[in-house]
């Protein structure tokens, strides 16, 4: 399995933060740390080309898209999440991969922004969860 470095970052961050309020979450954190460090998962680095692309993407769309469904998170948190999503899309795309995500709408926007910047390169493929219909 392949994940991007920002994906590993947000996973470990979320679990590590849980540990501070719920010590039993420590085992889950340890499990994921071992998974990401082990041979079953390849963590794609956020490298040079990805950082150049991510900067351009953020400049084109600095704020997270406003969703159809209500997002309960504070505005600052949504902005951090949007920067991570930009980094995830840039990392996957420049490494030659597509993306599997539950947040298809935002990543399809990023796919379109990348295609706008680099129209001659193969676009980012965005897949939803198994069985989900493509967005219209």
């Amino acid at each position: 399995m392949v994940v991007t470095a920002p994906t590993a970052l947000e996973t470990i961050y979320g679990l590590a933060r849980q540990v501070s309020v719920q010590p039993t979450a420590k085992a889950g954190l340890a499990w994921y740390r071992r998974l990401f460090a082990g041979p079953l998962v390849r963590v794609l680095p956020f490298g040079g080309p990805a950082s150049l692309l991510a900067g351009e993407l953020r400049a084109r769309h600095p704020l997270p898209p406003t969703g159809a469904r209500r997002d309960e998170r504070p505005k600052a948190e949504r902005r951090v999440a949007w920067v991570l999503d930009i980094q995830i899309a840039a990392t996957a795309w420049t490494a030659g991969y597509g993306l599997a995500t539950r947040n298809r709408r935002d990543f399809e926007l990023l796919r379109d922004l990348i295609a706008d910047l680099h129209p001659r390169a193969t676009p980012l493929e965005v897949l939803g969860p198994p069985g989900e219909e493509p967005l219209g």
């Binding site: 080309p49 953020r58 600095p62 420049t94 030659g96 910047l117 680099h118 390169a121």
Partner: protein, 131 residues
């Protein structure tokens, strides 16, 4: 989609794999009768003879026992799995090269690039943190 491979049949007969690893662990007995083996399906492609490394031959025999097929068939199946991974890696690397080139030298590349002033760069960098 798997392609057609030239490798069709590899003989493992006459090989004498070791009974134990170098650190003393027992290995499965290659001469022991296998479970219910079925005749492998016939494949298209050319015949060839290869020297198979001992460790790979042992894996092929274990895999053959698991599947109830012949060691030759198991070896081809292992090769097909490896080939699928290899083709996937090639495809990903080709896409990555195309996309990296687009970012580094392609559509966004401006031949009239010019070093901006330090003040302007500082303002630009800080603006990314202020939004």
């Amino acid at each position: 989609m798997m392609r057609s491979y030239a490798l069709r049949c590899v003989s493992l007969r006459g090989m004498s794999p070791p009974k134990a690893t170098e650190d003393g662990h027992d290995l499965p007995d290659a001469d022991a009768p296998a479970g219910r083996r079925q005749r492998a399906r016939r494949r298209d492609g050319s015949r060839t003879t290869l020297r198979v490394p001992t460790a790979l031959a042992l894996t092929a025999r274990r895999y053959a026992d698991d599947l109830g097929t012949t060691p030759n068939d198991a070896l081809i199946r292992l090769a097909e799995r490896g080939a699928e991974i290899y083709e996937g890696e090639r495809e990903v690397e080709a896409l990555a090269a195309e996309r990296r080139a687009a970012v580094l030298f392609g559509d966004a590349f401006d031949p009239q690039a010019e070093l901006p002033s330090p003040e302007w760069v500082e303002w630009a960098i800080m603006s990314a943190r202020e939004e």
